[in-house]
């Protein structure tokens, strides 16, 4: 293990008001050479966690170990960490090249090598042509890329990146994400970054830590989060559009879903799912897994939106709404009836009270 967070706690005391627990007993182990995303909505504790690792924030409890040594009592500069933080400003009097190379303390002999590295990282991030300029003359996106370059040019035990691509020009994002991911892999960097953007987490991270209200909800690869979400929160938070969640009761090997207006419909459960007769459950199914065009179920098309490379179809089944995604266009205008099916191997079952996952595709979590 490279970075180990154990029982990490952060409580903010507020004058005259109850304290806020931003991070609660967080345990996380990051492997050498791994890229990990801390993903969550604002206020989930992801940024507090990153700031504690960097040393910008004291710990209320717990410990942080990096490459075998305890770093949380050390000042930021002695932790062996390279970072790009939002608002961690570039030095205004220095050029972009000087900013990027600033932390590369080098002897005269190494100076040529250092400037080659600065150039290579700058070219990867498409700022090779503005190395001589000063920060004030750059756009927000260019400043963010310069700040990212300053972190990535360094060799360090750990790289910390705070929303590394949030300001980036949209037309550059896909290519730069690809290049940065390849670069992190080639250099074997251990990286922790914070983001609220699923696309960015997906693209850059080997594993994603989903946080909510200071608690780690799940830590796993993008595939694990998609196929084996630990609970209903992760299931409906991760994925776009969100997972369909239908409440029903187990009846004779099937889920009987209440359609809301007295209507009921029945969906066969996976044979291996051990759900007791009469149990109330939540059936989850990803929009990408709803099979449109044939099947025992039927809904009325509420909307059918073609988004360039995929169709999003919303169906009404009684008072329920089910969203399906198809990679091909769907020839079903609003108001028409469209048959669909949910296959047993695409079902996720959850406990309606605790939200805990009971089974995925017929097997236990």
């Amino acid at each position: 293990m490279s970075l180990v967070l154990s029982k990490l706690d952060k409580t903010y005391k507020r004058f005259g008001r109850p304290p806020v627990r931003a991070v609660c007993g967080l345990d996380l182990e990051v492997r050498q050479g791994e890229a990990v995303a801390l993903l969550g909505s604002s206020g989930c504790g992801k940024t507090s966690t990153l700031r504690m690792i960097a040393g910008f924030e004291s710990l209320s409890g717990g410990a942080i170990t990096l490459a075998g040594r305890r770093i949380d009592p050390l000042p930021p500069a002695r932790r062996g960490v390279a970072m790009a933080f939002e608002g961690y400003a570039l030095y205004p009097p220095l050029t972009v090249a000087e900013n990027i190379g600033f932390a590369l303390h080098t002897t005269r002999a190494e100076r040529r090598k250092a400037s080659e590295r600065v150039r290579a990282v700058a070219e990867m991030l498409d700022i090779g042509a503005i190395l001589h300029r000063r920060p004030a003359s750059l756009s927000g996106g260019q400043q963010q890329r310069a700040s990212l370059a300053r972190a990535l040019v360094r060799d360090a035990d750990l790289h910390l990146l705070d929303e590394p691509m949030s300001q980036l020009e949209p037309q550059l994002r896909a290519v730069l994400r690809g290049r940065v991911k390849a670069y992190l892999g080639e250099r074997g960097f251990t990286t922790v970054f914070v983001t609220h953007d699923q696309t960015e987490a997906h693209a850059l991270a080997d594993r994603i830590a989903v946080m909510e209200a200071g608690v780690l909800e799940q830590f796993g690869s993008p595939d694990e989060l998609r196929d084996r979400p630990k609970n209903l929160f992760v299931a409906t938070f991760f994925g776009e559009p969100p997972m369909n969640a239908l409440v029903g009761r187990v009846k004779e090997g099937a889920m009987e879903i209440e359609g809301g207006d007295g209507r009921r419909f029945s969906i066969a459960l996976p044979a291996a799912a051990t759900a007791p007769e009469g149990a109330r459950l939540v059936l989850g199914v990803r929009p990408q897994r709803i099979r449109l065009g044939a099947g025992a179920l039927s809904g009325t098309v509420l909307s059918n939106q073609w988004l360039g490379d995929q169709a999003h179809v919303a169906l009404a089944c009684g008072a329920l709404r089910i969203v399906a995604v198809s990679l091909a266009r769907v020839a079903a205008p609003s108001g028409t009836a469209l048959p669909f099916a949910i296959a047993p191997e695409d079902m996720h079952l959850f406990d309606p009270e605790s939200g805990t996952a009971l089974s995925h595709r017929g097997s236990c979590p």
């Binding site: 896909a174 994400r177 969100p242 091909a328």
Partner: protein, 365 residues
């Protein structure tokens, strides 16, 4: 014509021309999405239509009547903004009622209309709360309700979904089109998100540097961008733009780049050198085995739900992005580029679209 018609809208801040003569028509019941990067002039245009932009000039007609000389409060339109702009000291009810109070409606009539629009937007249960007590989603619905309540013939919605969480934004994307259609208003909806544009728009107007680059149905903007800047702005990941080599072939012309060679008809190439070949990532056709064809190295694999975005380096050194479904290939391996399903050719000098090749995806279901 009923609806909104604007012509030759101009605005100048000092020496900067922020709107350079905008013409646009929005029919009653139609939703036009105003799409563009930040600084394009989108908000200034809405402000000009609303009459709150002193620097603007031009003609604004609502239902055939010229309103540009009317004070803002006398223009029959409703507005909602990304920062909600609710009165902080008034309840949600009073916020929504404010345009009706300004028109001195009887309080009985006001109550009926506020309740009706609140039901439609599912905020009936929080009407007594002040903005501070509302979630971001409820604030956004309150602002929307206030814009809708007076049933104005024109609605101006300035990126109203920007500050709400992903789940709600997604829900509103499904709910808004039928809701807006029901109001029968001419709607201008501002966004920087191309999927939101495709989901909501009857027509998309692409704005950049104060000028309209394209005004067409959303699918047309996606499949046949009018120019290189539109191709770069509309889509994520954006369209690949590759410098192509032209090869005449009977009365057609092949445009070769990165192993693709789509053919175009009716193209005068006498003065044309190295045009840009535009291919959407999902239209890059790959063959799994590098057999014949053009080899490309997979530099990085960035997964996204059921798709994978690949950063490729073609044999000629060009970088391009391909989006594929199914199992993720390994970075560092090779694929062959088999062709392009759909491609657009652009003039290298002025950036204008020259020709289109190929067909788009088939219709399923």
């Amino acid at each position: 014509m009923s609806g909104l018609e604007i012509s030759d809208i101009r605005a100048r801040f000092g020496h900067a021309e922020v709107l350079r003569g905008i013409d646009c028509r929005v029919a009653a019941g139609e939703t036009v999405v105003l799409f563009g990067p930040s600084g394009a002039g989108k908000t200034t245009l809405l402000r000009a239509i609303a009459g709150v932009e002193p620097a603007a000039s031009g003609v604004v007609r609502i239902d055939g009547r010229e309103v540009q000389d009317l004070e803002p409060e006398h223009r029959p339109l409703g507005m909602a903004f990304q920062n909600f702009s609710l009165y902080p000291h008034l309840s949600a009810y009073e916020n929504i009622a404010s345009p009706l109070r300004a028109r001195r409606l009887r309080s009985q009539e006001i109550e009926v209309r506020v309740r009706r629009v609140a039901e439609l937007l599912r905020i009936g249960h929080v009407l007594g709360h002040i903005p501070r007590e509302l979630s971001n989603g409820q604030k956004q619905r309150t602002a929307l309700a206030r814009a809708l309540v007076a049933e104005p013939p024109v609605l101006l919605l300035d990126d109203p979904l920007r500050n709400v969480d992903a789940k709600l934004r997604y829900e509103m994307r499904l709910e808004l089109p039928p809701l807006l259609r029901k109001t029968g208003a001419a709607v201008i909806f501002v966004t920087q998100d191309f999927r939101e544009a495709m989901a909501l728009a009857d027509r998309v107007v692409v704005l950049r540097e104060g000028a309209v680059l394209q005004d067409a149905p959303a699918e047309e903007v996606y499949e046949a961008p009018a120019s290189v800047p539109v191709a770069q702005l509309f889509g994520d990941p954006p369209m690949n733009l590759l410098s192509a080599h032209l090869v005449p072939e009977g009365n057609r012309v092949r445009a070769e780049a990165a192993g693709m060679a789509p053919s175009f008809a009716d193209l005068d190439i006498t003065h044309l050198e190295r045009p840009f070949l535009g291919v959407r990532p999902e239209d890059v056709l790959l063959a799994s085995r590098p057999a014949g064809g053009a080899h490309a190295e997979i530099l990085a694999v960035t997964p996204l739900h059921d798709r994978c975005v690949l950063l490729l380096r073609a044999a000629d050194g060009t970088e391009l992005v391909a989006s594929v479904t199914g199992a993720a290939p390994e970075p560092g391996t090779f694929v062959s580029i088999a062709g392009a399903r759909h491609a657009v050719l652009f003039d290298p000098v002025n950036g204008h679209r020259l020709a289109i090749s190929g067909a788009r995806t088939e219709v399923a279901a």
